[in-house]
């Protein structure tokens, strides 16, 4: 055995010993001592106990940070969870070395505070955030994201997490959520039998409501739009509008939105409806004209659909299909303009701060990047290729320079690396191969 192999083995043993210590710390002392709560939303204590932040070479203080963040979510949290959360926030804000475990801790604190979008962003970048490839923190993040996806009925994402990372999760939670997703999405290749699903649920007592989740999945896939009952054009449009609003954003289909928009366009053009409004206005003594009332109706429809589209995964460009008239035309123009303006404002704020040399704490820098990233992702998701192009041109090269400065001046290598990776992906998505290559080469691991 060569000297290098001996050294490698020595390191492996050291890491293993350290991990064992840490795992022991996270394992309940005796069966039955852990608190359980059967109410909906009760805490699951499975994944976190196996968190192996110690593999990142962290000392007890770092371990305790994620431990305390996690304890905020247990059925019997620390005696004073508010104070614990406040202390954690202060510590995390001042951290001089942002690693995967601390990003995960920040995400859990954000979730405790009810800032779920922020929690999603933070926990979404934990995997591969630092060079130590902290498997425990990644697993914890994936488990949270999968449960959160299930809560939001974003079954496609839950399925994706299970397929991509299920084998890294010995607790089986990711595979369980993926199996539930298979039922909700009615995907024949993903369906496990109800009995098997119940057995999976039995195998993870730490997941609150596991059996209830199985029942919900196998009996129905969430809100199910039924047959529309009305023959009248307006009634059909309102009924379909109701169905679209009742459907979880993640399950909305492009064709539903197209069909709804087409129905509303027919309502707005209908002479019979215009006549009905005029007659009814006369009967009630209303002074509003049919044109004004229909414009108000269209505005309400656009506002409802805009909220639906912003929270869903449907691409506007697919829905529009080149169409720039009617309900959809106005909606697309308004949304594109709004999203681009929001991104512009964020970039101006960032540029001003960087030009003035006002540094944030590392977690603050991370938050600002994640906020920008959410905006860019949304623009790309809603507006398709044109949105991605606009987003890239808006944020690059300022964000590129920002990431390089974080690397060079702040030595925030993990954060800068995550940003390099993101910029490379963005550039690759719009065929900017030279930029993509540069930022891929910037990455250290």
């Amino acid at each position: 055995m060569s000297r290098w192999e001996e050294e490698l083995n020595r390191l492996r043993k050291l890491v293993k010993a350290k991990f064992s210590e840490f795992e022991a710390m996270w394992t309940p002392s005796a069966p039955g001592t852990a608190t359980r709560d059967n109410r909906p939303g009760a805490a699951n204590q499975a994944g976190p106990r196996r968190s192996q932040e110690a593999t990142a070479g962290s000392g007890p203080a770092r371990g305790s940070m994620i431990e305390r963040a996690l304890a905020l979510h247990w059925p019997r949290p620390a005696p004073d969870p508010e104070a614990t959360a406040a202390r954690l926030e202060a510590q995390l804000a001042e951290t001089a070395a942002l690693n995967a475990a601390r990003v995960a801790a920040a995400g859990l604190v954000a979730a405790y505070r009810g800032r779920l979008e922020e929690a999603r962003s933070l926990l979404g970048i934990v995997d591969g955030f630092d060079r130590y490839n902290d498997a425990g923190a990644s697993r914890l993040a994936f488990q949270w994201l999968a449960a959160d996806a299930a809560d939001r009925a974003d079954w496609r994402y839950a399925l994706d997490l299970g397929s991509s990372h299920g084998d890294q999760d010995p607790s089986g939670q990711l595979r369980f959520f993926a199996a539930l997703a298979g039922w909700h999405l009615r995907l024949p290749e993903q369906l496990v039998s109800p009995l098997e699903l119940r057995q999976m649920a039995d195998g993870m007592p730490d997941v609150a409501n596991a059996q209830a989740l199985v029942t919900a999945a196998t009996h129905q896939g969430g809100p199910v739009p039924q047959q529309l009952p009305h023959d009248g054009l307006l009634s059909r449009a309102v009924a379909m509008h109701t169905v679209v609003r009742a459907t979880p954003a993640s399950r909305l289909q492009t064709r539903d939105l197209k069909e709804l928009a087409a129905l509303w366009d027919r309502v707005l053009r209908s002479r019979a409806i215009r006549r009905h409004i005029t007659q009814r206005a006369a009967a009630l003594g209303a002074t509003v004209t049919a044109g004004a009332l229909l414009e108000r109706l269209a505005e309400t429809v656009r506002s409802d659909l805009s909220a639906t589209l912003l929270s869903g995964s449907v691409q506007l460009s697919e829905v529009a299909d080149g169409e720039r008239d009617g309900i959809l035309g106005g909606l697309i123009d308004a949304l594109e303009m709004r999203l681009c303006a929001e991104l512009d404002i964020s970039m101006v704020a960032l540029t001003e701060r960087l030009d003035a040399g006002r540094e944030l704490t590392l977690l603050g820098e991370c938050h600002q990047w994640l906020s920008l990233r959410r905006q860019v992702d949304r623009l790309g998701r809603l507006c398709g290729a044109s949105g991605r192009l606009v987003a890239f041109n808006t944020v690059y090269p300022q964000v590129g320079q920002w990431s390089i400065d974080l690397w060079n001046s702040r030595k925030a290598h993990s954060l800068a690396n995550a940003m390099f990776r993101w910029i490379a992906e963005l550039a690759g998505g719009i065929e900017e191969q030279r930029v993509a290559e540069t930022y891929r080469n910037n990455q250290e691991w």
Partner: protein, 104 residues
């Protein structure tokens, strides 16, 4: 023009009235529901819309009655009340909460 939700805040649903109801019925329904709410009677505590059930409040009742007494507002909400809560046949299921991280 109010910025209330045309479906979940629709005054016809809040007061449990049909869109072709007589103006007198608006007053009566408003008074009855406000009385029930004051007495804490369960029947008055919530109202149904095609998007599910919502809590009924005295402020909501007052506002709904005011809107239906304004012909322009009433006409707008009539358009949205063409689908009655029972007719929409939207099966809504909140489903069990999954969150293992929630201590709420």
């Amino acid at each position: 023009m109010s910025d209330r939700d045309a479906l979940t805040d629709n005054p016809f649903f809040v007061l449990g009235l049909d869109p072709d109801c007589h103006p007198m019925e608006v007053e009566r329904a408003g008074n009855t529901l406000a009385g029930l709410l004051e007495l804490g009677v369960k029947r008055g505590a919530s109202y149904t819309t095609p998007l599910g059930a919502f809590e009924r409040t005295s402020e909501g009742i007052r506002q709904a009655a005011a809107e239906l007494n304004d012909p322009n507002e009433r006409l707008f909400y009539e358009l949205w009340a063409t689908v009655a809560p029972s007719d929409a046949r939207i099966v809504r299921s909140a489903g069990p909460s999954t969150s293992w991280w929630s201590n709420g």
